[in-house]
């Protein structure tokens, strides 16, 4: 059974000039891959759902999704000629020798990951024995925990948790960093790795005493964002984190598997059975990417904010798109945790029109839009330099008009520009930040209409390639 297959070196080539590279880099010979009994898609985010990868598979392979997968994804897959099956949560299904049971994400999961279906994998011939549980990008399912507590499902032998922390070094502005904080974030010397491990391992094990004895796989974070100069995120080598975790835990095994490694898990821990012949780490590329990061960090260089895409149209069109969507964003702000922070800020300052600002950079001149709490609207105001805007408004966003318009037009996704081409400043917790609001408001779970355009571009790309191949054959 294949889960969330990305079978190419990169994804996103069909719709952006800066596609995302999978990390660690791999060499994959899909032609030698065995035909899977099924493909399971946990959710629709672009690092999990990739139509060009699915296009490489035999059309007889059933594609499995959970109840919360958005309809448009299902239709896109069906258009490729696959049969898609929606499984109910908590029901057992056999695919070849594997028993699959899907569960909803934990209730405290952030909104933009709340559609994730988690996957419990067991031996179909022996389902009473605990298998391994894939949390994917979400917190462990409350429904799964209730099942363990009630004895209706065996506790897992191993749990895969995700380290998607995207830690950035000094000089690199992370997606959720804060322009108003010194160096982009609060706090002094921290061991980010300890924070990560404590969160994903102890945070999961503490949910239920039966989970404390499980072994843990650290996965996730498996791509390079568009920080070309830096290369991979620090602390995204899961094997290093697992090695540290093993020194700080008792009686359990922790592993950070590498591409192509074949693992078996039993009550004693993980055992490497071998390596796949059709999938392996691209070691030269891996070494060179790590060396690039080391050089970058030693140099003390920083990465300035940049324009992710060149504008498809003139500035007037871009601002028309943006101003149309700012009406939606204004309403979303008032419903989000950010809205409460803005009310608190207005009470403190006594000014309801100076709480949140959007500053957009453009060839024809920058524009600034201020949010008015009394109308829940953004109004254009006299343009401010970013430094002045940060002093004047407690919350704000700055980015290139072309990038934001590309997101609002569906040419890019919000994840593509956050940090790299769009930055925010805020007070209070990170989940009340303007970028977190944008993840919620423009992610696939709310704006499937925008996400669909990326899917359409992938489908168009696949169909164009097929058409060209047919024409070549005909010629």
């Amino acid at each position: 059974v294949l889960v969330d297959p990305i079978l190419m070196a990169r994804y996103g080539e069909e719709y952006t000039s800066s596609p995302v590279e999978i990390y660690p880099p791999r060499k994959i010979d899909v032609g030698r891959m065995p035909i899977p009994a099924a493909v399971i898609l946990s959710h629709e985010h672009s690092d999990h759902f990739h139509l060009p990868s699915l296009d490489l598979l035999d059309r007889r392979v059933p594609i499995i999704v959970g109840p919360t997968m958005i309809d448009r994804v299902v239709r896109c897959i069906e258009r490729l000629g696959f049969e898609v099956h929606r499984l109910e949560y908590g029901t057992d299904h056999r695919f070849g020798s594997v028993m699959i049971t899907l569960y909803p994400a934990g209730e405290e999961t952030v909104l933009w990951e709340s559609r994730v279906s988690q996957i419990y994998v067991r031996d179909a011939d022996d389902p009473e024995i605990g298998g391994f549980y894939l949390c994917v990008d979400a917190l462990l399912s409350d429904q799964f925990l209730a099942g363990i507590e009630a004895g209706s499902v065996p506790a897992p032998c191993a749990i895969a948790v995700s380290n998607n922390s995207q830690i950035t070094p000094a000089g690199v502005f992370g997606s959720l960093d804060n322009l108003a904080a010194p160096d982009g974030r609060d706090g002094g010397t921290r061991s980010h790795g300890l924070d990560i491990l404590d969160g994903i391992l102890r945070g999961t094990a503490a949910l239920n005493p039966r989970l404390a004895h499980c072994h843990y796989m650290i996965c996730g974070g498996g791509f390079l964002k568009d920080y070309e100069e830096m290369g991979p995120f620090p602390l995204s080598e899961q094997a290093d984190l697992a090695a540290a975790a093993k020194k700080l835990t008792l009686g359990i095994d922790v592993t950070g598997p590498e591409p192509g490694e074949v693992l078996e898990v039993d009550p004693d821990g993980f055992h490497t059975l071998g390596r796949l012949s059709w999938l392996e780490t691209d070691r030269d590329r891996y070494r060179s990417l790590i060396a690039r990061r080391e050089r970058f960090m030693a140099s003390g260089a920083s990465i300035p904010m940049r324009q992710v895409v060149q504008p498809r149209a003139d500035d007037q069109y871009l601002f028309e798109v943006i101003e149309r969507e700012l009406i939606y964003l204004g309403r979303a702000v008032s419903l989000a945790p950010l809205g409460r922070e803005l009310i608190a800020a207005a009470i403190e300052s006594g000014d309801a029109s100076r709480t949140f600002v959007v500053k957009l950079l453009a060839e024809s001149g920058d524009r600034t839009y201020a949010y008015d709490l009394r109308t829940s609207r953004f109004d254009r105001t006299s343009d401010l330099a970013t430094a002045d805007a940060i002093v004047t408004y407690p919350f704000g966003i700055v980015g290139h008009a072309s990038d934001l318009a590309a997101v609002l037009d569906g040419d890019l996704q919000i994840w593509d520009i956050a940090g790299v081409g769009l930055r925010s400043w805020y007070r209070g917790p990170v989940l009340s930040s303007p970028v977190a609001l944008m993840y919620d408001a423009f992610g696939e779970q709310i704006r499937a209409d925008l996400a669909c355009r990326a899917y359409d571009l992938q489908l168009a790309h696949i169909e164009n390639v097929a058409k060209s191949a047919a024409e070549v054959e005909l010629a």
Partner: protein, 298 residues
Amino acid sequence: MRELVYIGQQSWLVRYGSANILVDPVLGETFGSSENLRFRIVPSRSVDIQRMPRVDAVVLTNEHIGHLDFPSLNGLPQEVPVLVPSLTPTVAIDAIRATGRDVVLMNHDSPCEVGGAKVTMYYGRPDVPVWEARTMSCLISASEKGGIFFQSDTAVRPNQAQLCQPDVFVATHNAQIAPVDRLTMFDNMLPLPPATPAEMTGLHMLNSVVNTSSAMFDSVRWTVLSGKGYVQEPDRFGTYLWSDFEQLAETANLISLGTRDRSATGPVRPIRAELCRGPGLRRLGSPHRALSGYQRQR
């Protein structure tokens, strides 16, 4: 010039400029109130007090036996003053004065000059356990910014960073984590699951020690692990789990990232967040010079 020398347990010699200051000196091989129950310093070491440099002052962060050790105080010249928290129990103050020493009562955030260095002590968070509520943290510095901050056995107040900007933070790890089948002081005899699963105690402990207090200070460049450097005699079960500080520091460094050096006027320069203990402290900016009065035996 400044130098930080680890003596053992929570004892340190700080050399700041021309000042030599001892913090919580326990200089013998063991300490304790009774001959029938001693606490042996680990890793074991010997201290030759005669060859130790002149001491300008002793700082005691609290009056507990791992910090106030009369045999150690008595080994020092009588004219060395002892700085103690203002809320130190009178019985302890009287006992120190009875040895013929001056006792200086230190108020919260009220510095004292010692041989050209500045010693400032701070009370911790009011919600620490009552038996540690009189404990003070201590900052030894030369100017308004920088300095070495000894957390001692208390929790740092949330607003502490407004009062001082240390660049070295000596964090306390006093967790007494026994093997799973042994009960220690706070373990529950009832078979109830603990809030932190036993499997994850080490991870939780190290994250708390490294990321709770020192992370409050943007100024901190180095975190140094200190604390719980003894075993009980007669022996109960040897050393506690996760009490090898060098291994803990090595593990934390493996998964730590550079911090930010805001003192530099040029571009932001990442430096590695170092967590280290005694002998590794030659990163403090001046050449490390081992004091001949201290020998460490492993």
